[in-house]
Symmetry: D2
Subunit: 341 residues, 4 copies
């Protein structure tokens, strides 16, 4: 049985685990005050070409979204997101649990559009009843999106422009950021993201870490007493080192980028293989997640040999499934998959 | 200056106010324990033909929606509502403030459709990732809707059937219930609503009261310690009598229904008048709210003599406005409006 | 049966009700935009000798406390209150429901002490673990307290000094403010309160209104989009006029103060009466609430003829009860009570 | 520099880390569905002698407390805890953030007393105003407490009896449970805890794991859709294996108990050493945390060579400090400490 079920089927990249082992018996302070957290922060700031950035380490993606959004928004504000956004659909209402509405807007292949965003905000500010409505206080985008798609630099700039015009924050969920940055079809760099977003996170869980996400506030805009709010929302790890050591390793010698590029290479092979075998793509994804439409009988057989993800029912007889590569995908996996297909 | 701005431009129906005055100096217990609350409850249960109902009085509509929804739902559940529903759009995020997502579904003229609802629930329960999603725990409908439209009995029954099939509550927001029940085009009675809904409220604020809404739990399903939750959410009035006396009066000698019918009569005249004057209707409403599309220059002039409600921009040059009648609309208002139009 | 159970056993002062009737059929805008709200705001600002004040009308006390506290505090902050404070003990957790901790401090007869408050804050800021604790962001006091006691001007000034030193807000719950201001033993004026507090409310429900409390922000410190937060928390009344007319009447010709003084006169008679009859006071109260310790058998008999409030069990055989006067207490009530006692 | 600052200064026990490495490249399902989670659950159930238990793995202590408490309580309920309890004092208001009050009761050396608890509940249920108050829905105790103290079996049984009598849940925070179970002075076993508590957690973070706590519902009382609530509150780890492998290792061959016993041995040596050196104990602790009162000048010097924890100011010239041993304390640390003292 081989697995293309997700990009979190393996543990950590071996170098990450080795470093955890090497540093294991050192006595370190808790809650992110240790030297590895400090070093990781500096390396991330350098990688972002953003010396004024402020970096915090959290444990998982939903937690990060809920903490960032709820600590940045005022209580009368909500966050704009694609109807298919992770915060809208697949976080069990974590944002609403903190008291904030997710203001869902239309999307195309997981992406929102600067023009549609601008229209939404224009309509809101023209509405005479807006004092009875949730104020849009932030825009949430994921990059890559939940469908593996990417914004290009111009699209990001346009979205950032709209946000600035309406004085709201732009937040980018980078759960799979490495795979986006290393896509062969992107013109967006980490520095671009740091320049254009007010806050974003660099995903660790899906890109080589056991767990952990690095939140980057880019404009001196870290909410006051952020650490206390992280504690209050259950996100403060006693052994902050666990996150610090992992991110320090991932941002040493470009490991984060290298393993992401490897996953993209595997994804390109996967795409080619699926195309050659006649699979029908649900959409065109330039990153590590590939979505194909499979007839249900065929799917049942496939699942006997390959673990894949259910995405959504396509119609009565077909299902959209996801196959994901990652840093941990092996040559052997690829070969076995080719046989199975 | 005459006003068709809303159905809450006047105080209370004179009989309601007179009764408040008559009972004013009586010493009564607080928090809804007085004899007028008791009497009002009995009359409402009789009017609903629902002896097992449990009736509670709250102050306003948004408060009622937030309290009912948050006290009925489990914390992992959300409420399904039309994208145009009051809870979705015009309550400043009051439902999300209590921690629950409003699961927005498509609508037509403010109404949701049993078939679409059923499909939504089917898709949810077929989704293998549903444990990562907000569970639908309730369906919210408004009747009349925010667009003045009504469900017919068959539509209500079908929606109720879907709710039963999926074991979720059906909640009806009756902020303008009187105007719905007295519409010339309805086949739905108060007893039907009590039979089909798990919980609903009978609007007072917009139908003759100074303030106040009567929540009716119809199936022995009042949440445990409901009064404490009302207190906790800031909705418990010390002088519960204020609400009790008002509803007791409204449900004596069918006052609630009579004044609602009067408002419908005025609305029918209004519709006729608007049609004769060539106004373009935004949609067909059988109740006290009428929506017309007006050219912006014309609107500016109209507003010099008549107060109306901005509803939404129709296009660059036109606006959807609302004109509402109510129990307080006078002959004189109608005549003056005719002149102005 | 006569009632000294509370100060909210009657409806509204007759002048208030008369004014509601006189203005009943006027067409007015909703949500506090009407001329009576405007006029009431101006009169209250004048009475407070605080032209820069910003006045908002809410419906009830618990609602007011929850909305003011949750809209002023940052999410990492809590509110300091006496362990016996209304927000600590008798609001069903309404403050915690908004996500904020009530930081309970010791009290004496319902009052907190500037010295103890200062010590609490000193200890907090000396604590090296304070980033793991709830930050004190506000001090809540009630005046009169839940035990009818009052702060004198010097005590209030000292508390305000501590708040300024630590840069936290001082909030005064004036549910019974009239009875405090008209006490024979107070040196505190409404202008003092406006000068010393950052925000406070003038209670209407217990001092002549059907319902309603007037929140006064005194230092240009109204939270941004306060109205939207009021709506979000279920406190926005569609017919804002109901509150505006009532407060406009109460602050015309000093009605609020006159009816409060009357209640104090009745309370002084009550105290004298209780003292002469040999009743044992639980504490010395200079306002309209009087607390006496009664043997349980005697209480059972008393309750056959007089409604009083249970306060707390004193010991196995005795109970602390409360008798309250108000603007609605009559000569006849007093005479009957004298007979019964 | 040596550190006795806390029991979370090192990484994971070497066996735990080794096992993470051995299993690292296996393809496993996410969110706690993997075989290591399954195996760990079975071993924990066996160790608890509680076959009907339901075990869930969460990441950290504050998160665990907030999730367990908020998912078990009804919205009108609060949790009773010692004023010094972790949930009361050192979780930045995490419980209140979920909308629930911590009902603080008096304590002695961190412990609450069955008699005091019973009195509290008796008074609550005798209070005629209890519908306006927060209902006690759970009792929270920590074992060992924040002061290192322990309940004996009789005390636990008495507290459990009170809880049963009032039909409320008993929840035990076992962040340092291993150190409590291996104390030389305890008569309480893990099976006793599983028998007496409705829910408790076995701390991993402070007892050999990188992170992680194992929640045990003992009576078929897991809240419905608990996993969804964990996700909603940001506590669901994508790579559940990280927790599963760690707990599976800790509960293999009694590792959890052995390393706890070792820490207790070190603590006993520490106590002896401190006593011999004339240190003044703040209280008597039979577990791995020791509290001594140190003169401030002496403390400054001590801190140059040993990391210790600030606990609280004792008086102007003295501070209470904590020294903690753990599984990671070495012989060398002990010897160096002896020299320094």
């Amino acid at each position: 049985m081989i697995s293309f079920e997700s990009d979190y089927i393996a543990g950590a990249h071996p170098k990450v685990l080795a470093r955890l082992m090497e540093t294991n018996m050192e006595s370190l302070g808790g809650y992110g005050t240790d030297k590895y957290c400090e070093s990781a922060r500096e390396k991330i700031k350098a990688a972002c070409d953003c010396p004024q950035a402020d970096v915090h380490f959290l444990v998982g993606g939903t937690q990060t979204n809920a903490i960032v959004i709820s600590s940045v928004l005022e209580s009368y504000e909500g966050v704009i997101a694609a109807r298919t956004g992770h915060v809208s659909l697949h976080e069990a209402g974590a944002i609403e649990y903190t008291g904030h509405k997710v203001l869902e807007v239309e999307q195309q292949d997981g992406k929102i559009d600067a023009k549609a965003l601008n229209d939404y905000l224009d309509v809101f500010y023209a509405d005479e009843n807006r004092e009875h409505m949730v104020f849009p206080g932030m825009v949430y985008i994921s990059h890559p999106t939940e469908y593996g798609t990417l914004y290009n630099k111009k699209e990001l700039e346009e979205i950032a422009d709209v946000c600035h015009r309406f004085d709201i924050s732009l937040y980018l969920d980078g759960a799979r950021l490495g795979y986006g940055l290393m896509s062969r079809e992107t013109d967006v760099t980490l520095a671009d993201i740091a320049r254009l977003c007010d806050v974003f996170y660099i995903g660790g869980t899906k890109v080589g870490a056991l767990c952990g996400e690095a939140v980057v506030f880019t404009k001196g805009n870290t909410p006051k007493h952020f650490m206390t709010m992280v504690k209050q929302r259950g996100g403060l790890l006693a052994k902050g080192r666990v996150l610090g050591v992992q991110f320090d390793t991932l941002f040493t010698d470009d490991l984060y980028f290298e393993i992401s590029r490897y996953a993209i290479d595997m994804a390109e092979r996967l795409k080619k293989m699926l195309r050659e075998k006649g699979y029908r793509f649900y959409l065109e994804s330039p990153t590590n997640q590939q979505f194909v439409i499979v007839e249900n009988g065929q799917l049942a057989k496939l699942k006997e040999q390959v673990a894949v993800s259910f995405w959504e029912a396509y119609d009565e007889n077909h299902t959209v499934i996801r196959l994901a590569t990652s840093w941990s995908t092996t040559e052997e996996d690829m070969e076995k998959l080719e046989e199975v297909l």
